[in-house]
Amino acid sequence: MTAGRWWDVVRMRFRSLTKRRRVETELDKELRYHVERQTEENIAAGMNAREAREAASRIFGGVSQIEEECRDMRRTQYLENFSQDLRYAVRTLGKNPTFTVVIVLTLALSIGANSAIFGVIDGVLLKPLPYPQAERIARVFYRSTAYPKFPLNPWDFLDFRARNRSFEGFAVYTHADMQLSGAGGDPVKLSAFRISSGYFQVLGLHPAMGREFDFSEERPGNGNVVILSDRVWRNQFGATADILGKKVLLESRPFTVVGVMPPGVDHPGNSYNSVAYGDTVDAWTPFTFDGNPNNRGSHYVEGIGRLKPGVTEEQAAADFNGLMREMATQHEGDKGWTIYMVPLFKEIVGPVHKMLLVLLGAVGLVLLIACVNAANLLLARAAARHREVAMRAALGASRGRLVRQMLAESLLVSVLGGALGAMLAIVGLRVLVAFLPAGFPRLDAIHMSGIVFGFTAAIALATGLIFGLVPAVQASRTDPQQGLRDGGRSSTGGGRQTRLRAALVVGEVGLACLLLVGAGVLLRSFVNLLKSDSGFRPEHVLTAEIALPDATYKAKAAVADFYTRMLANLSALPGTRSAAAGTDLPWTGYDENMGGFTIEGKTPPPNEEFHARYHTASPDYFRAVGIPLVRGRFFDERDKKDSQRTLIINDVMARRYWPGEDVIGKRITFDDNPKESDWFTVVGVVGDVKDKPESAAAEPAFWWPLMQQPFPFRSMTIALRANGDPTLLTDGVRSVVRKLDPSLAVAHVKLMDKIADENFSTPRFALFLVGLFAGLALVLAAIGIYGVISYSVSQRMHEFGMRVALGASSGNLLGMVMRQGVLLAGIGVVIGIGSALLFGGVLDSLLYGVSARDPLTLIGVGALAVVTATLASFPSARRATGADPMTSLRAE
């Protein structure tokens, strides 16, 4: 076929489609011309004008028939029919505004909800991380029976880096905030990391100016260089172009700037002193360390590596485990560890992966229910239009044509629903992001994208096809004779259709029950969390963080002395009830753990060691935070630097290591060859606080008194319990610290109840959404039941009239109809609860103190569904009682 002909063909089709009126006029004119010429010929042959015209018309046959055939020849019939179907659909839908609005709104809600959840999933789970070939980056941790995920020892790191065969680059990093002073203005605390050379290469990032650290800078004494973030370079140094080589004061020591990173460097996240993925990091300094290379018991650096092309995590882990075993033969401290290697992506999104999939599942169920609901409503209407369909079939509409026409309607509805849903999704996604729980990863990556809109369009069309096809095929099976003969009264569309509609409603109720059970157990889990005793009292407590630079606060004594003076001044602030300092606060992710200490008179079980979370606390710490004393005493002025060494332990530690004994006066030591002065005596037992509210149980823990800390804790958290509003103390804290040392920054001033509350944001979020979806599902199911019962009642009015004539009371009829609704719901409940028992397992990891198969919830959901069904059947049942016996008798 030549190009010219193609062009002609396309042009003609296009013309037939777009200039339909003109084409039609021309056709008409062309045919008229023919008739006129024939008429003229007839006149010439001797007929009079009227005869001539009639004869010409007769020869010509039916003009409209020829016109139709010419139209057929144009072969644009499908499209023309489609637009005709569409216009017809618009008219029919417009005639039933309530019906249309209900379907479109329910679809829009569920499509919108699906798209919004998908938007979150697209950003968090589908988009790659913003590092080149991010799939090759892996995190490396240690693992032992006691610690599933533990930082590395720096000497081990050197061995791994030198000897591994799996990584292109392997680096470590550790969180160490730094105070920047002398840059003009107040001192500021920078979120900073100490990194080994090659850290940025592993991430695939390069400084915008200057360079990354090299090996020589890892050596102790060479590490006074710094790489700044774009943000600090702009905000603190005015984006000066000649910053490289300049000295800046960090922790009161001069550091030379060797590099500036470009904007948008995402922190890969770390778990020890954790800074979340994507959070701001302001500065990087070289990781330097020294000491005895045989001493491998200290773990505080986190490993990250870039796999060589083609090497899997498993292969790399096997490689590292081999090295670990070799090292364990040489170093006592390396015994008992294996390698835990995890892809960076999984490490970042792992914690929310499950929840997002559960939400997608829940919202998908809602869409399914909306689909079933729409199919059901369409079926009901198809039944009402039975006669119309029969008539069209009798007039020669093919089955395909009937199906297409019905599908045009459902597609129109779903496209409307999809368009509205897309708008809802735009709003919904913003709302979702605003309500996402604290610490949710990759928030910045979440936004409406082409992919999300594509998803919306796809599910809109798919739902339209799904819920449209069943009724369309059903309707097309209509037997025209049957349909027309029935004359309307009993044209029920047959028992098959009634059964189909009942089955759809049963399915709808079942799905809704499944969602309700999910929402129910999440609710119970959340209530359990709220009701569980936190072990501390976060109300009226102001907290802040202070970090003393090690250059100016070298000795333990200097650190203890600063905090003692600061606390004395803070206690004097009006409105302060108690002022305290400690290494950490409850529920902030602190998990510093010490293992291998000695308990007087005890030996640990084989292959285990004594271990506990370690902390330090000022005398008033437990009062300020609200942790109760179980036995013994709190720290006080007796616990001085040179007096008897003391400890406070928690209840779990007392019961685990001294079961059934009075623990006061018992002693432990952290020295392998202790002198008498190396023993610490337990003077108090305090209540347990779990690491996180959802943790299974509290870990053993102990506290050193501030004055007796075995090594200097320079970074401390202040906790001030106020008599009234704790926020009023903020300025007081700042001025107290400034008076003691103007070079110090007061960071992260927060209310403790806010910190505590952040721990509930994830379960609250999941509960809110699943609850919302379940509520929506229940409403949809109620609409479905109402629709089926109401239709069935209108079909049976005649029968009800007869029953009344035969003596049935209103109560009888009411009961009959309601039983029908309850029966449908009952079967649905059985199916729904059955599937909840079957699939409940997926929720278990999100639940606290309740099983996904919680009997109380299952019973409650069943009852709720039955009550809903009763309510939804009531209006129709009432209508049934109004059946008129006379009408029925007359009709017989």
């Binding site: 076929m1 030549t2 010219g4 002909r5 193609w6 062009w7 002609d8 063909v9 003609m12 089709r13 037939s16 021309e26 056709l27 004119k29 062309e30 045919l31 011309y33 023919h34 006129e36 010429r37 024939q38 003229e40 020869i59 010509f60 046959g61 039916g62 028939q65 020829i66 055939e69 010419c70 057929d72 020849m73 144009r74 072969r75």
Partner: protein, 112 residues
């Protein structure tokens, strides 16, 4: 009234293409010409003619243009396109093959 099936399938297309190969014509003239040339044997009904013309036009073998006819009124004149000329040759060849084959069969029958 004869239907398109009265003519051998596809023959009408050939007749139309052949007729307008000489000069552009409108529908009525095409019908008349076929009737005259075939000595009144072939009666092309309007019911067959116009759908066929429209189909040929849609396929890009003929092109319709409106201009004044010999009777002084506007009529739609159909002319052959380049592709139509190729198609005409193809159809002619096919027809010749078909008709000689038919003749062979008929003659064979007579001999037997």
């Amino acid at each position: 009234m004869s239907k398109p099936s009265d003519l051998i399938q596809g023959t009408l297309d050939l007749l139309i293409l052949k007729t307008i190969a000489l000069e552009p014509m409108h529908g009525w003239a095409i019908a008349k010409r076929i009737q005259q040339v075939s000595k009144e044997v072939l009666q092309v009904t309007q019911g067959a003619l116009y759908p066929a013309l429209h189909r040929l036009e849609q396929q890009g073998w003929v092109r319709g243009t409106w201009r004044e006819s010999e009777s002084g009124r506007e009529a739609k004149f159909y002319s052959l396109t380049k592709a139509g000329r190729v198609q005409l040759d193809k159809e002619l060849e096919q027809w010749q093959r078909l008709s000689s084959a038919v003749v062979l069969v008929i003659n064979a029958g007579q001999e037997a």
